[in-house]
Symmetry: C2
Subunit: 191 residues, 2 copies
DNA sequence: CCATTTACAGACCGATCATTCTAAAATTCC
DNA sequence: GGAATTTTAGAATGATCGGTCTGTAAATGG
């Protein structure tokens, strides 16, 4: 017994994510958000509580996508270097955005809502754990040297991963990112 | 025959850099900049032309620092893996800031003045060239495999470098960054 | 010690910010 | 089809934005 809403929540979040991603928290003005998302001001406050809530919800949606993708690839059995290479390569294609919304949130720590920063840190932690699990698998299967430092390598892979998200910002092409990944994987193999 | 200025240009730029760094271009409000830098509004416009000019000048100063550090270490003769490891380790200590101002400028491309983005891209290009020169030296000295892809490895090192600047944002300690670098260098050695 | 020059502190400006409110439009239940 | 309910569009709101202007303080040259 009410007027149906004229917007789709997920569509709104995707648009908002895109804007926050490119413009940052402060750079994405409410007027622009209202115009592009199709969600009117009043409903924005009713649904998300305000700009900060919209940002956190958009980040949640992004992290849902991102972590889903990581989980899908990095839990394939048996875990090992194949999964690691696959996930690195999967990240390099098809993004219409700039860099990575999670990383942008980390770099803009003092401007984004505190809750958003906390979620980004938690997301990064989960990704690191997934890398470590696959390194452990690689070790068990003899793919990497027996003396390998799993923790160090796990963080190294995540570092490379994060760096790849930055690379594109200064014009690095997909082909060049492929070469980066190939070079990095070559260094990982047992010798 | 005039009143002497009550501020030091370099000190002002250091303070402004710190604020833009942490808060982003839009997040660093003019009132806060005026308060923290000690430079009053009027002089800010006379000296830098406005907020955008101040940002670009602060980025220039940062890039001067950063590129100077890279040049100092990466032009030591003979060039090779020692320089690369030295520069990676040098980046991990003593920063009171969050991440890297150059990378922040790249990630906030659509919010910072266009001139700032262009300078950041140019800076990244110079750093990559320095890495490549040392990889060429390493190849000539037999430190890395003869079949190595210098261009790919150069971008890979820069990717790792950029990732290291991100790592600290989510709580990675200096000791952990050391382990990351050790793991990465192990993969580079000729075998 | 006065004239000149420059920097200073702070008031002022229109524009725009995030947020709140008001009233009309749209849908469902009865 | 009328009452109830919810969304809509858009007009206020006070605060604050970046930028400009005005008058005063501080220094030097003569």
């Amino acid at each position: 017994m009410a007027r149906p809403r004229g917007y789709d929540r997920d569509t709104v979040l995707d648009k908002a994510m895109s804007m926050f991603w490119r413009l940052g928290y402060e750079g994405a003005h409410l007027a622009a958000l209202v115009e592009h998302t199709g969600l009117n001001r009043f409903s924005l406050y009713k649904e998300f509580g305000g700009k900060a809530g919209l940002y956190e919800a958009a980040l949640d949606r992004f992290l849902g996508y991102l972590l889903g993708q990581y989980r899908d690839i990095l839990t394939v059995q048996p875990q090992g270097l194949e999964n690691i290479e696959a996930v690195l390569r999967s990240l390099q294609y098809g993004s219409e955005y700039y860099g990575c919304f999670m990383i942008n949130t980390l770099t803009q720590r003092d401007s984004v809502p505190p809750g958003a920063y906390d979620r980004a840190v938690a997301g990064a932690g989960e990704i690191e754990a997934l890398y470590r699990a696959n390194l452990a698998g690689a070790l068990a299967r003899g793919q990497i040297a027996a003396a390998s430092d799993i923790a160090g390598l796990g963080k190294m892979l995540q570092t490379l991963d994060q760096g790849l998200h930055i690379q594109g910002l200064a014009g690095t092409t997909d082909a060049q990112k492929d070469a980066i990944i190939t070079a990095a994987m070559a260094g990982l193999q047992a010798r």
